[in-house]
Subunit: 157 residues, 2 copies
């Protein structure tokens, strides 16, 4: 492999799947939704894709993660996601962390930290004790997209 390829994203890596979650966040942005996206992966395959839809559905519970949990459970025919990984562009809030805990999801990979509204500000032990946590994947891009969204919203109003 040549040196040119050192920045290439490896298939099935966390960066690879986070790119799909980030694409979901862009889809949200284009619908004027707070741009947060998520995918759930089982056996190296994406089984659920979702992005925030709280405005369009007029429903505070329609966060990307909550929809992804429901879709993945539906796909698997099991309400427990012990062998799945959630990729989400922003640290989950308390509601989503609670839902993820109930799902017993195997791994969570999140992008940007949310120091104010993220679950760790409520209680860092909210997740299921068996859930592995990875953070900071594509954090800068996810954070920049959120900043752009809120800047545009402020200049609109």
């Amino acid at each position: 492999m040549s040196d040119d390829n050192t920045d290439m994203i490896q298939p099935f890596s966390d960066e690879y799947f986070m790119k799909s979650a980030f694409q979901q966040a862009i889809n949200a942005f284009e619908k004027k939704e707070v741009p947060v996206g998520a995918v759930i992966v089982s056996k190296n395959k994406i089984i659920a894709r979702a992005h925030n839809l709280t405005e369009q559905l007029n429903d505070v519970t329609a966060h990307a993660e909550m929809q992804a949990i429901t879709a993945a459970a539906n796909h698997l025919g099991s309400k427990y996601l012990t062998k799945c990984t959630l990729y989400v562009t922003l640290e989950p809030c308390g509601m989503c962390a609670g839902g993820l805990a109930w799902s017993q999801i195997g791994r969570i990979v999140f992008g940007a930290s949310d120091l104010n509204l993220g679950y760790r500000a409520i209680n860092p032990k909210m997740l299921h004790p068996k859930t592995e946590l990875i953070k900071g994947i594509m954090a800068d891009e996810s954070s920049a997209l959120l900043k752009q969204f809120f800047q545009e919203r402020r200049s609109d109003s």
Copy 2:
């Protein structure tokens, strides 16, 4: 009014609406769901009724409160429930408390405490700071129904 009426439930009291939430819990029990029920009230009118459906929907997010939030927002055409009261037979979990916080619900009245899985064990300040909290309404009945459910489930297995 005669003395015979001292135990009568006053219309539009917290006990009155909690009775409807308890009826929802009984509906859940009859479907072999963990018996938790909820209603949301706006201007003395029930605008959402729901009970736990996690087994039937195969979805850990299908708690009574989450469904009630979605239904009430849909009814009102507003995702914020600042002038509403949620009645729920059991203390909300972290997921539901997080959803209720996002909804900015005006009041929460719950029945039985859940010392292990209730939101207060995670962080008692999870609710929205403006949400008024009342607890212990029909706590004994709600707790007894849950105990009966888990006893029957244990003897089934």
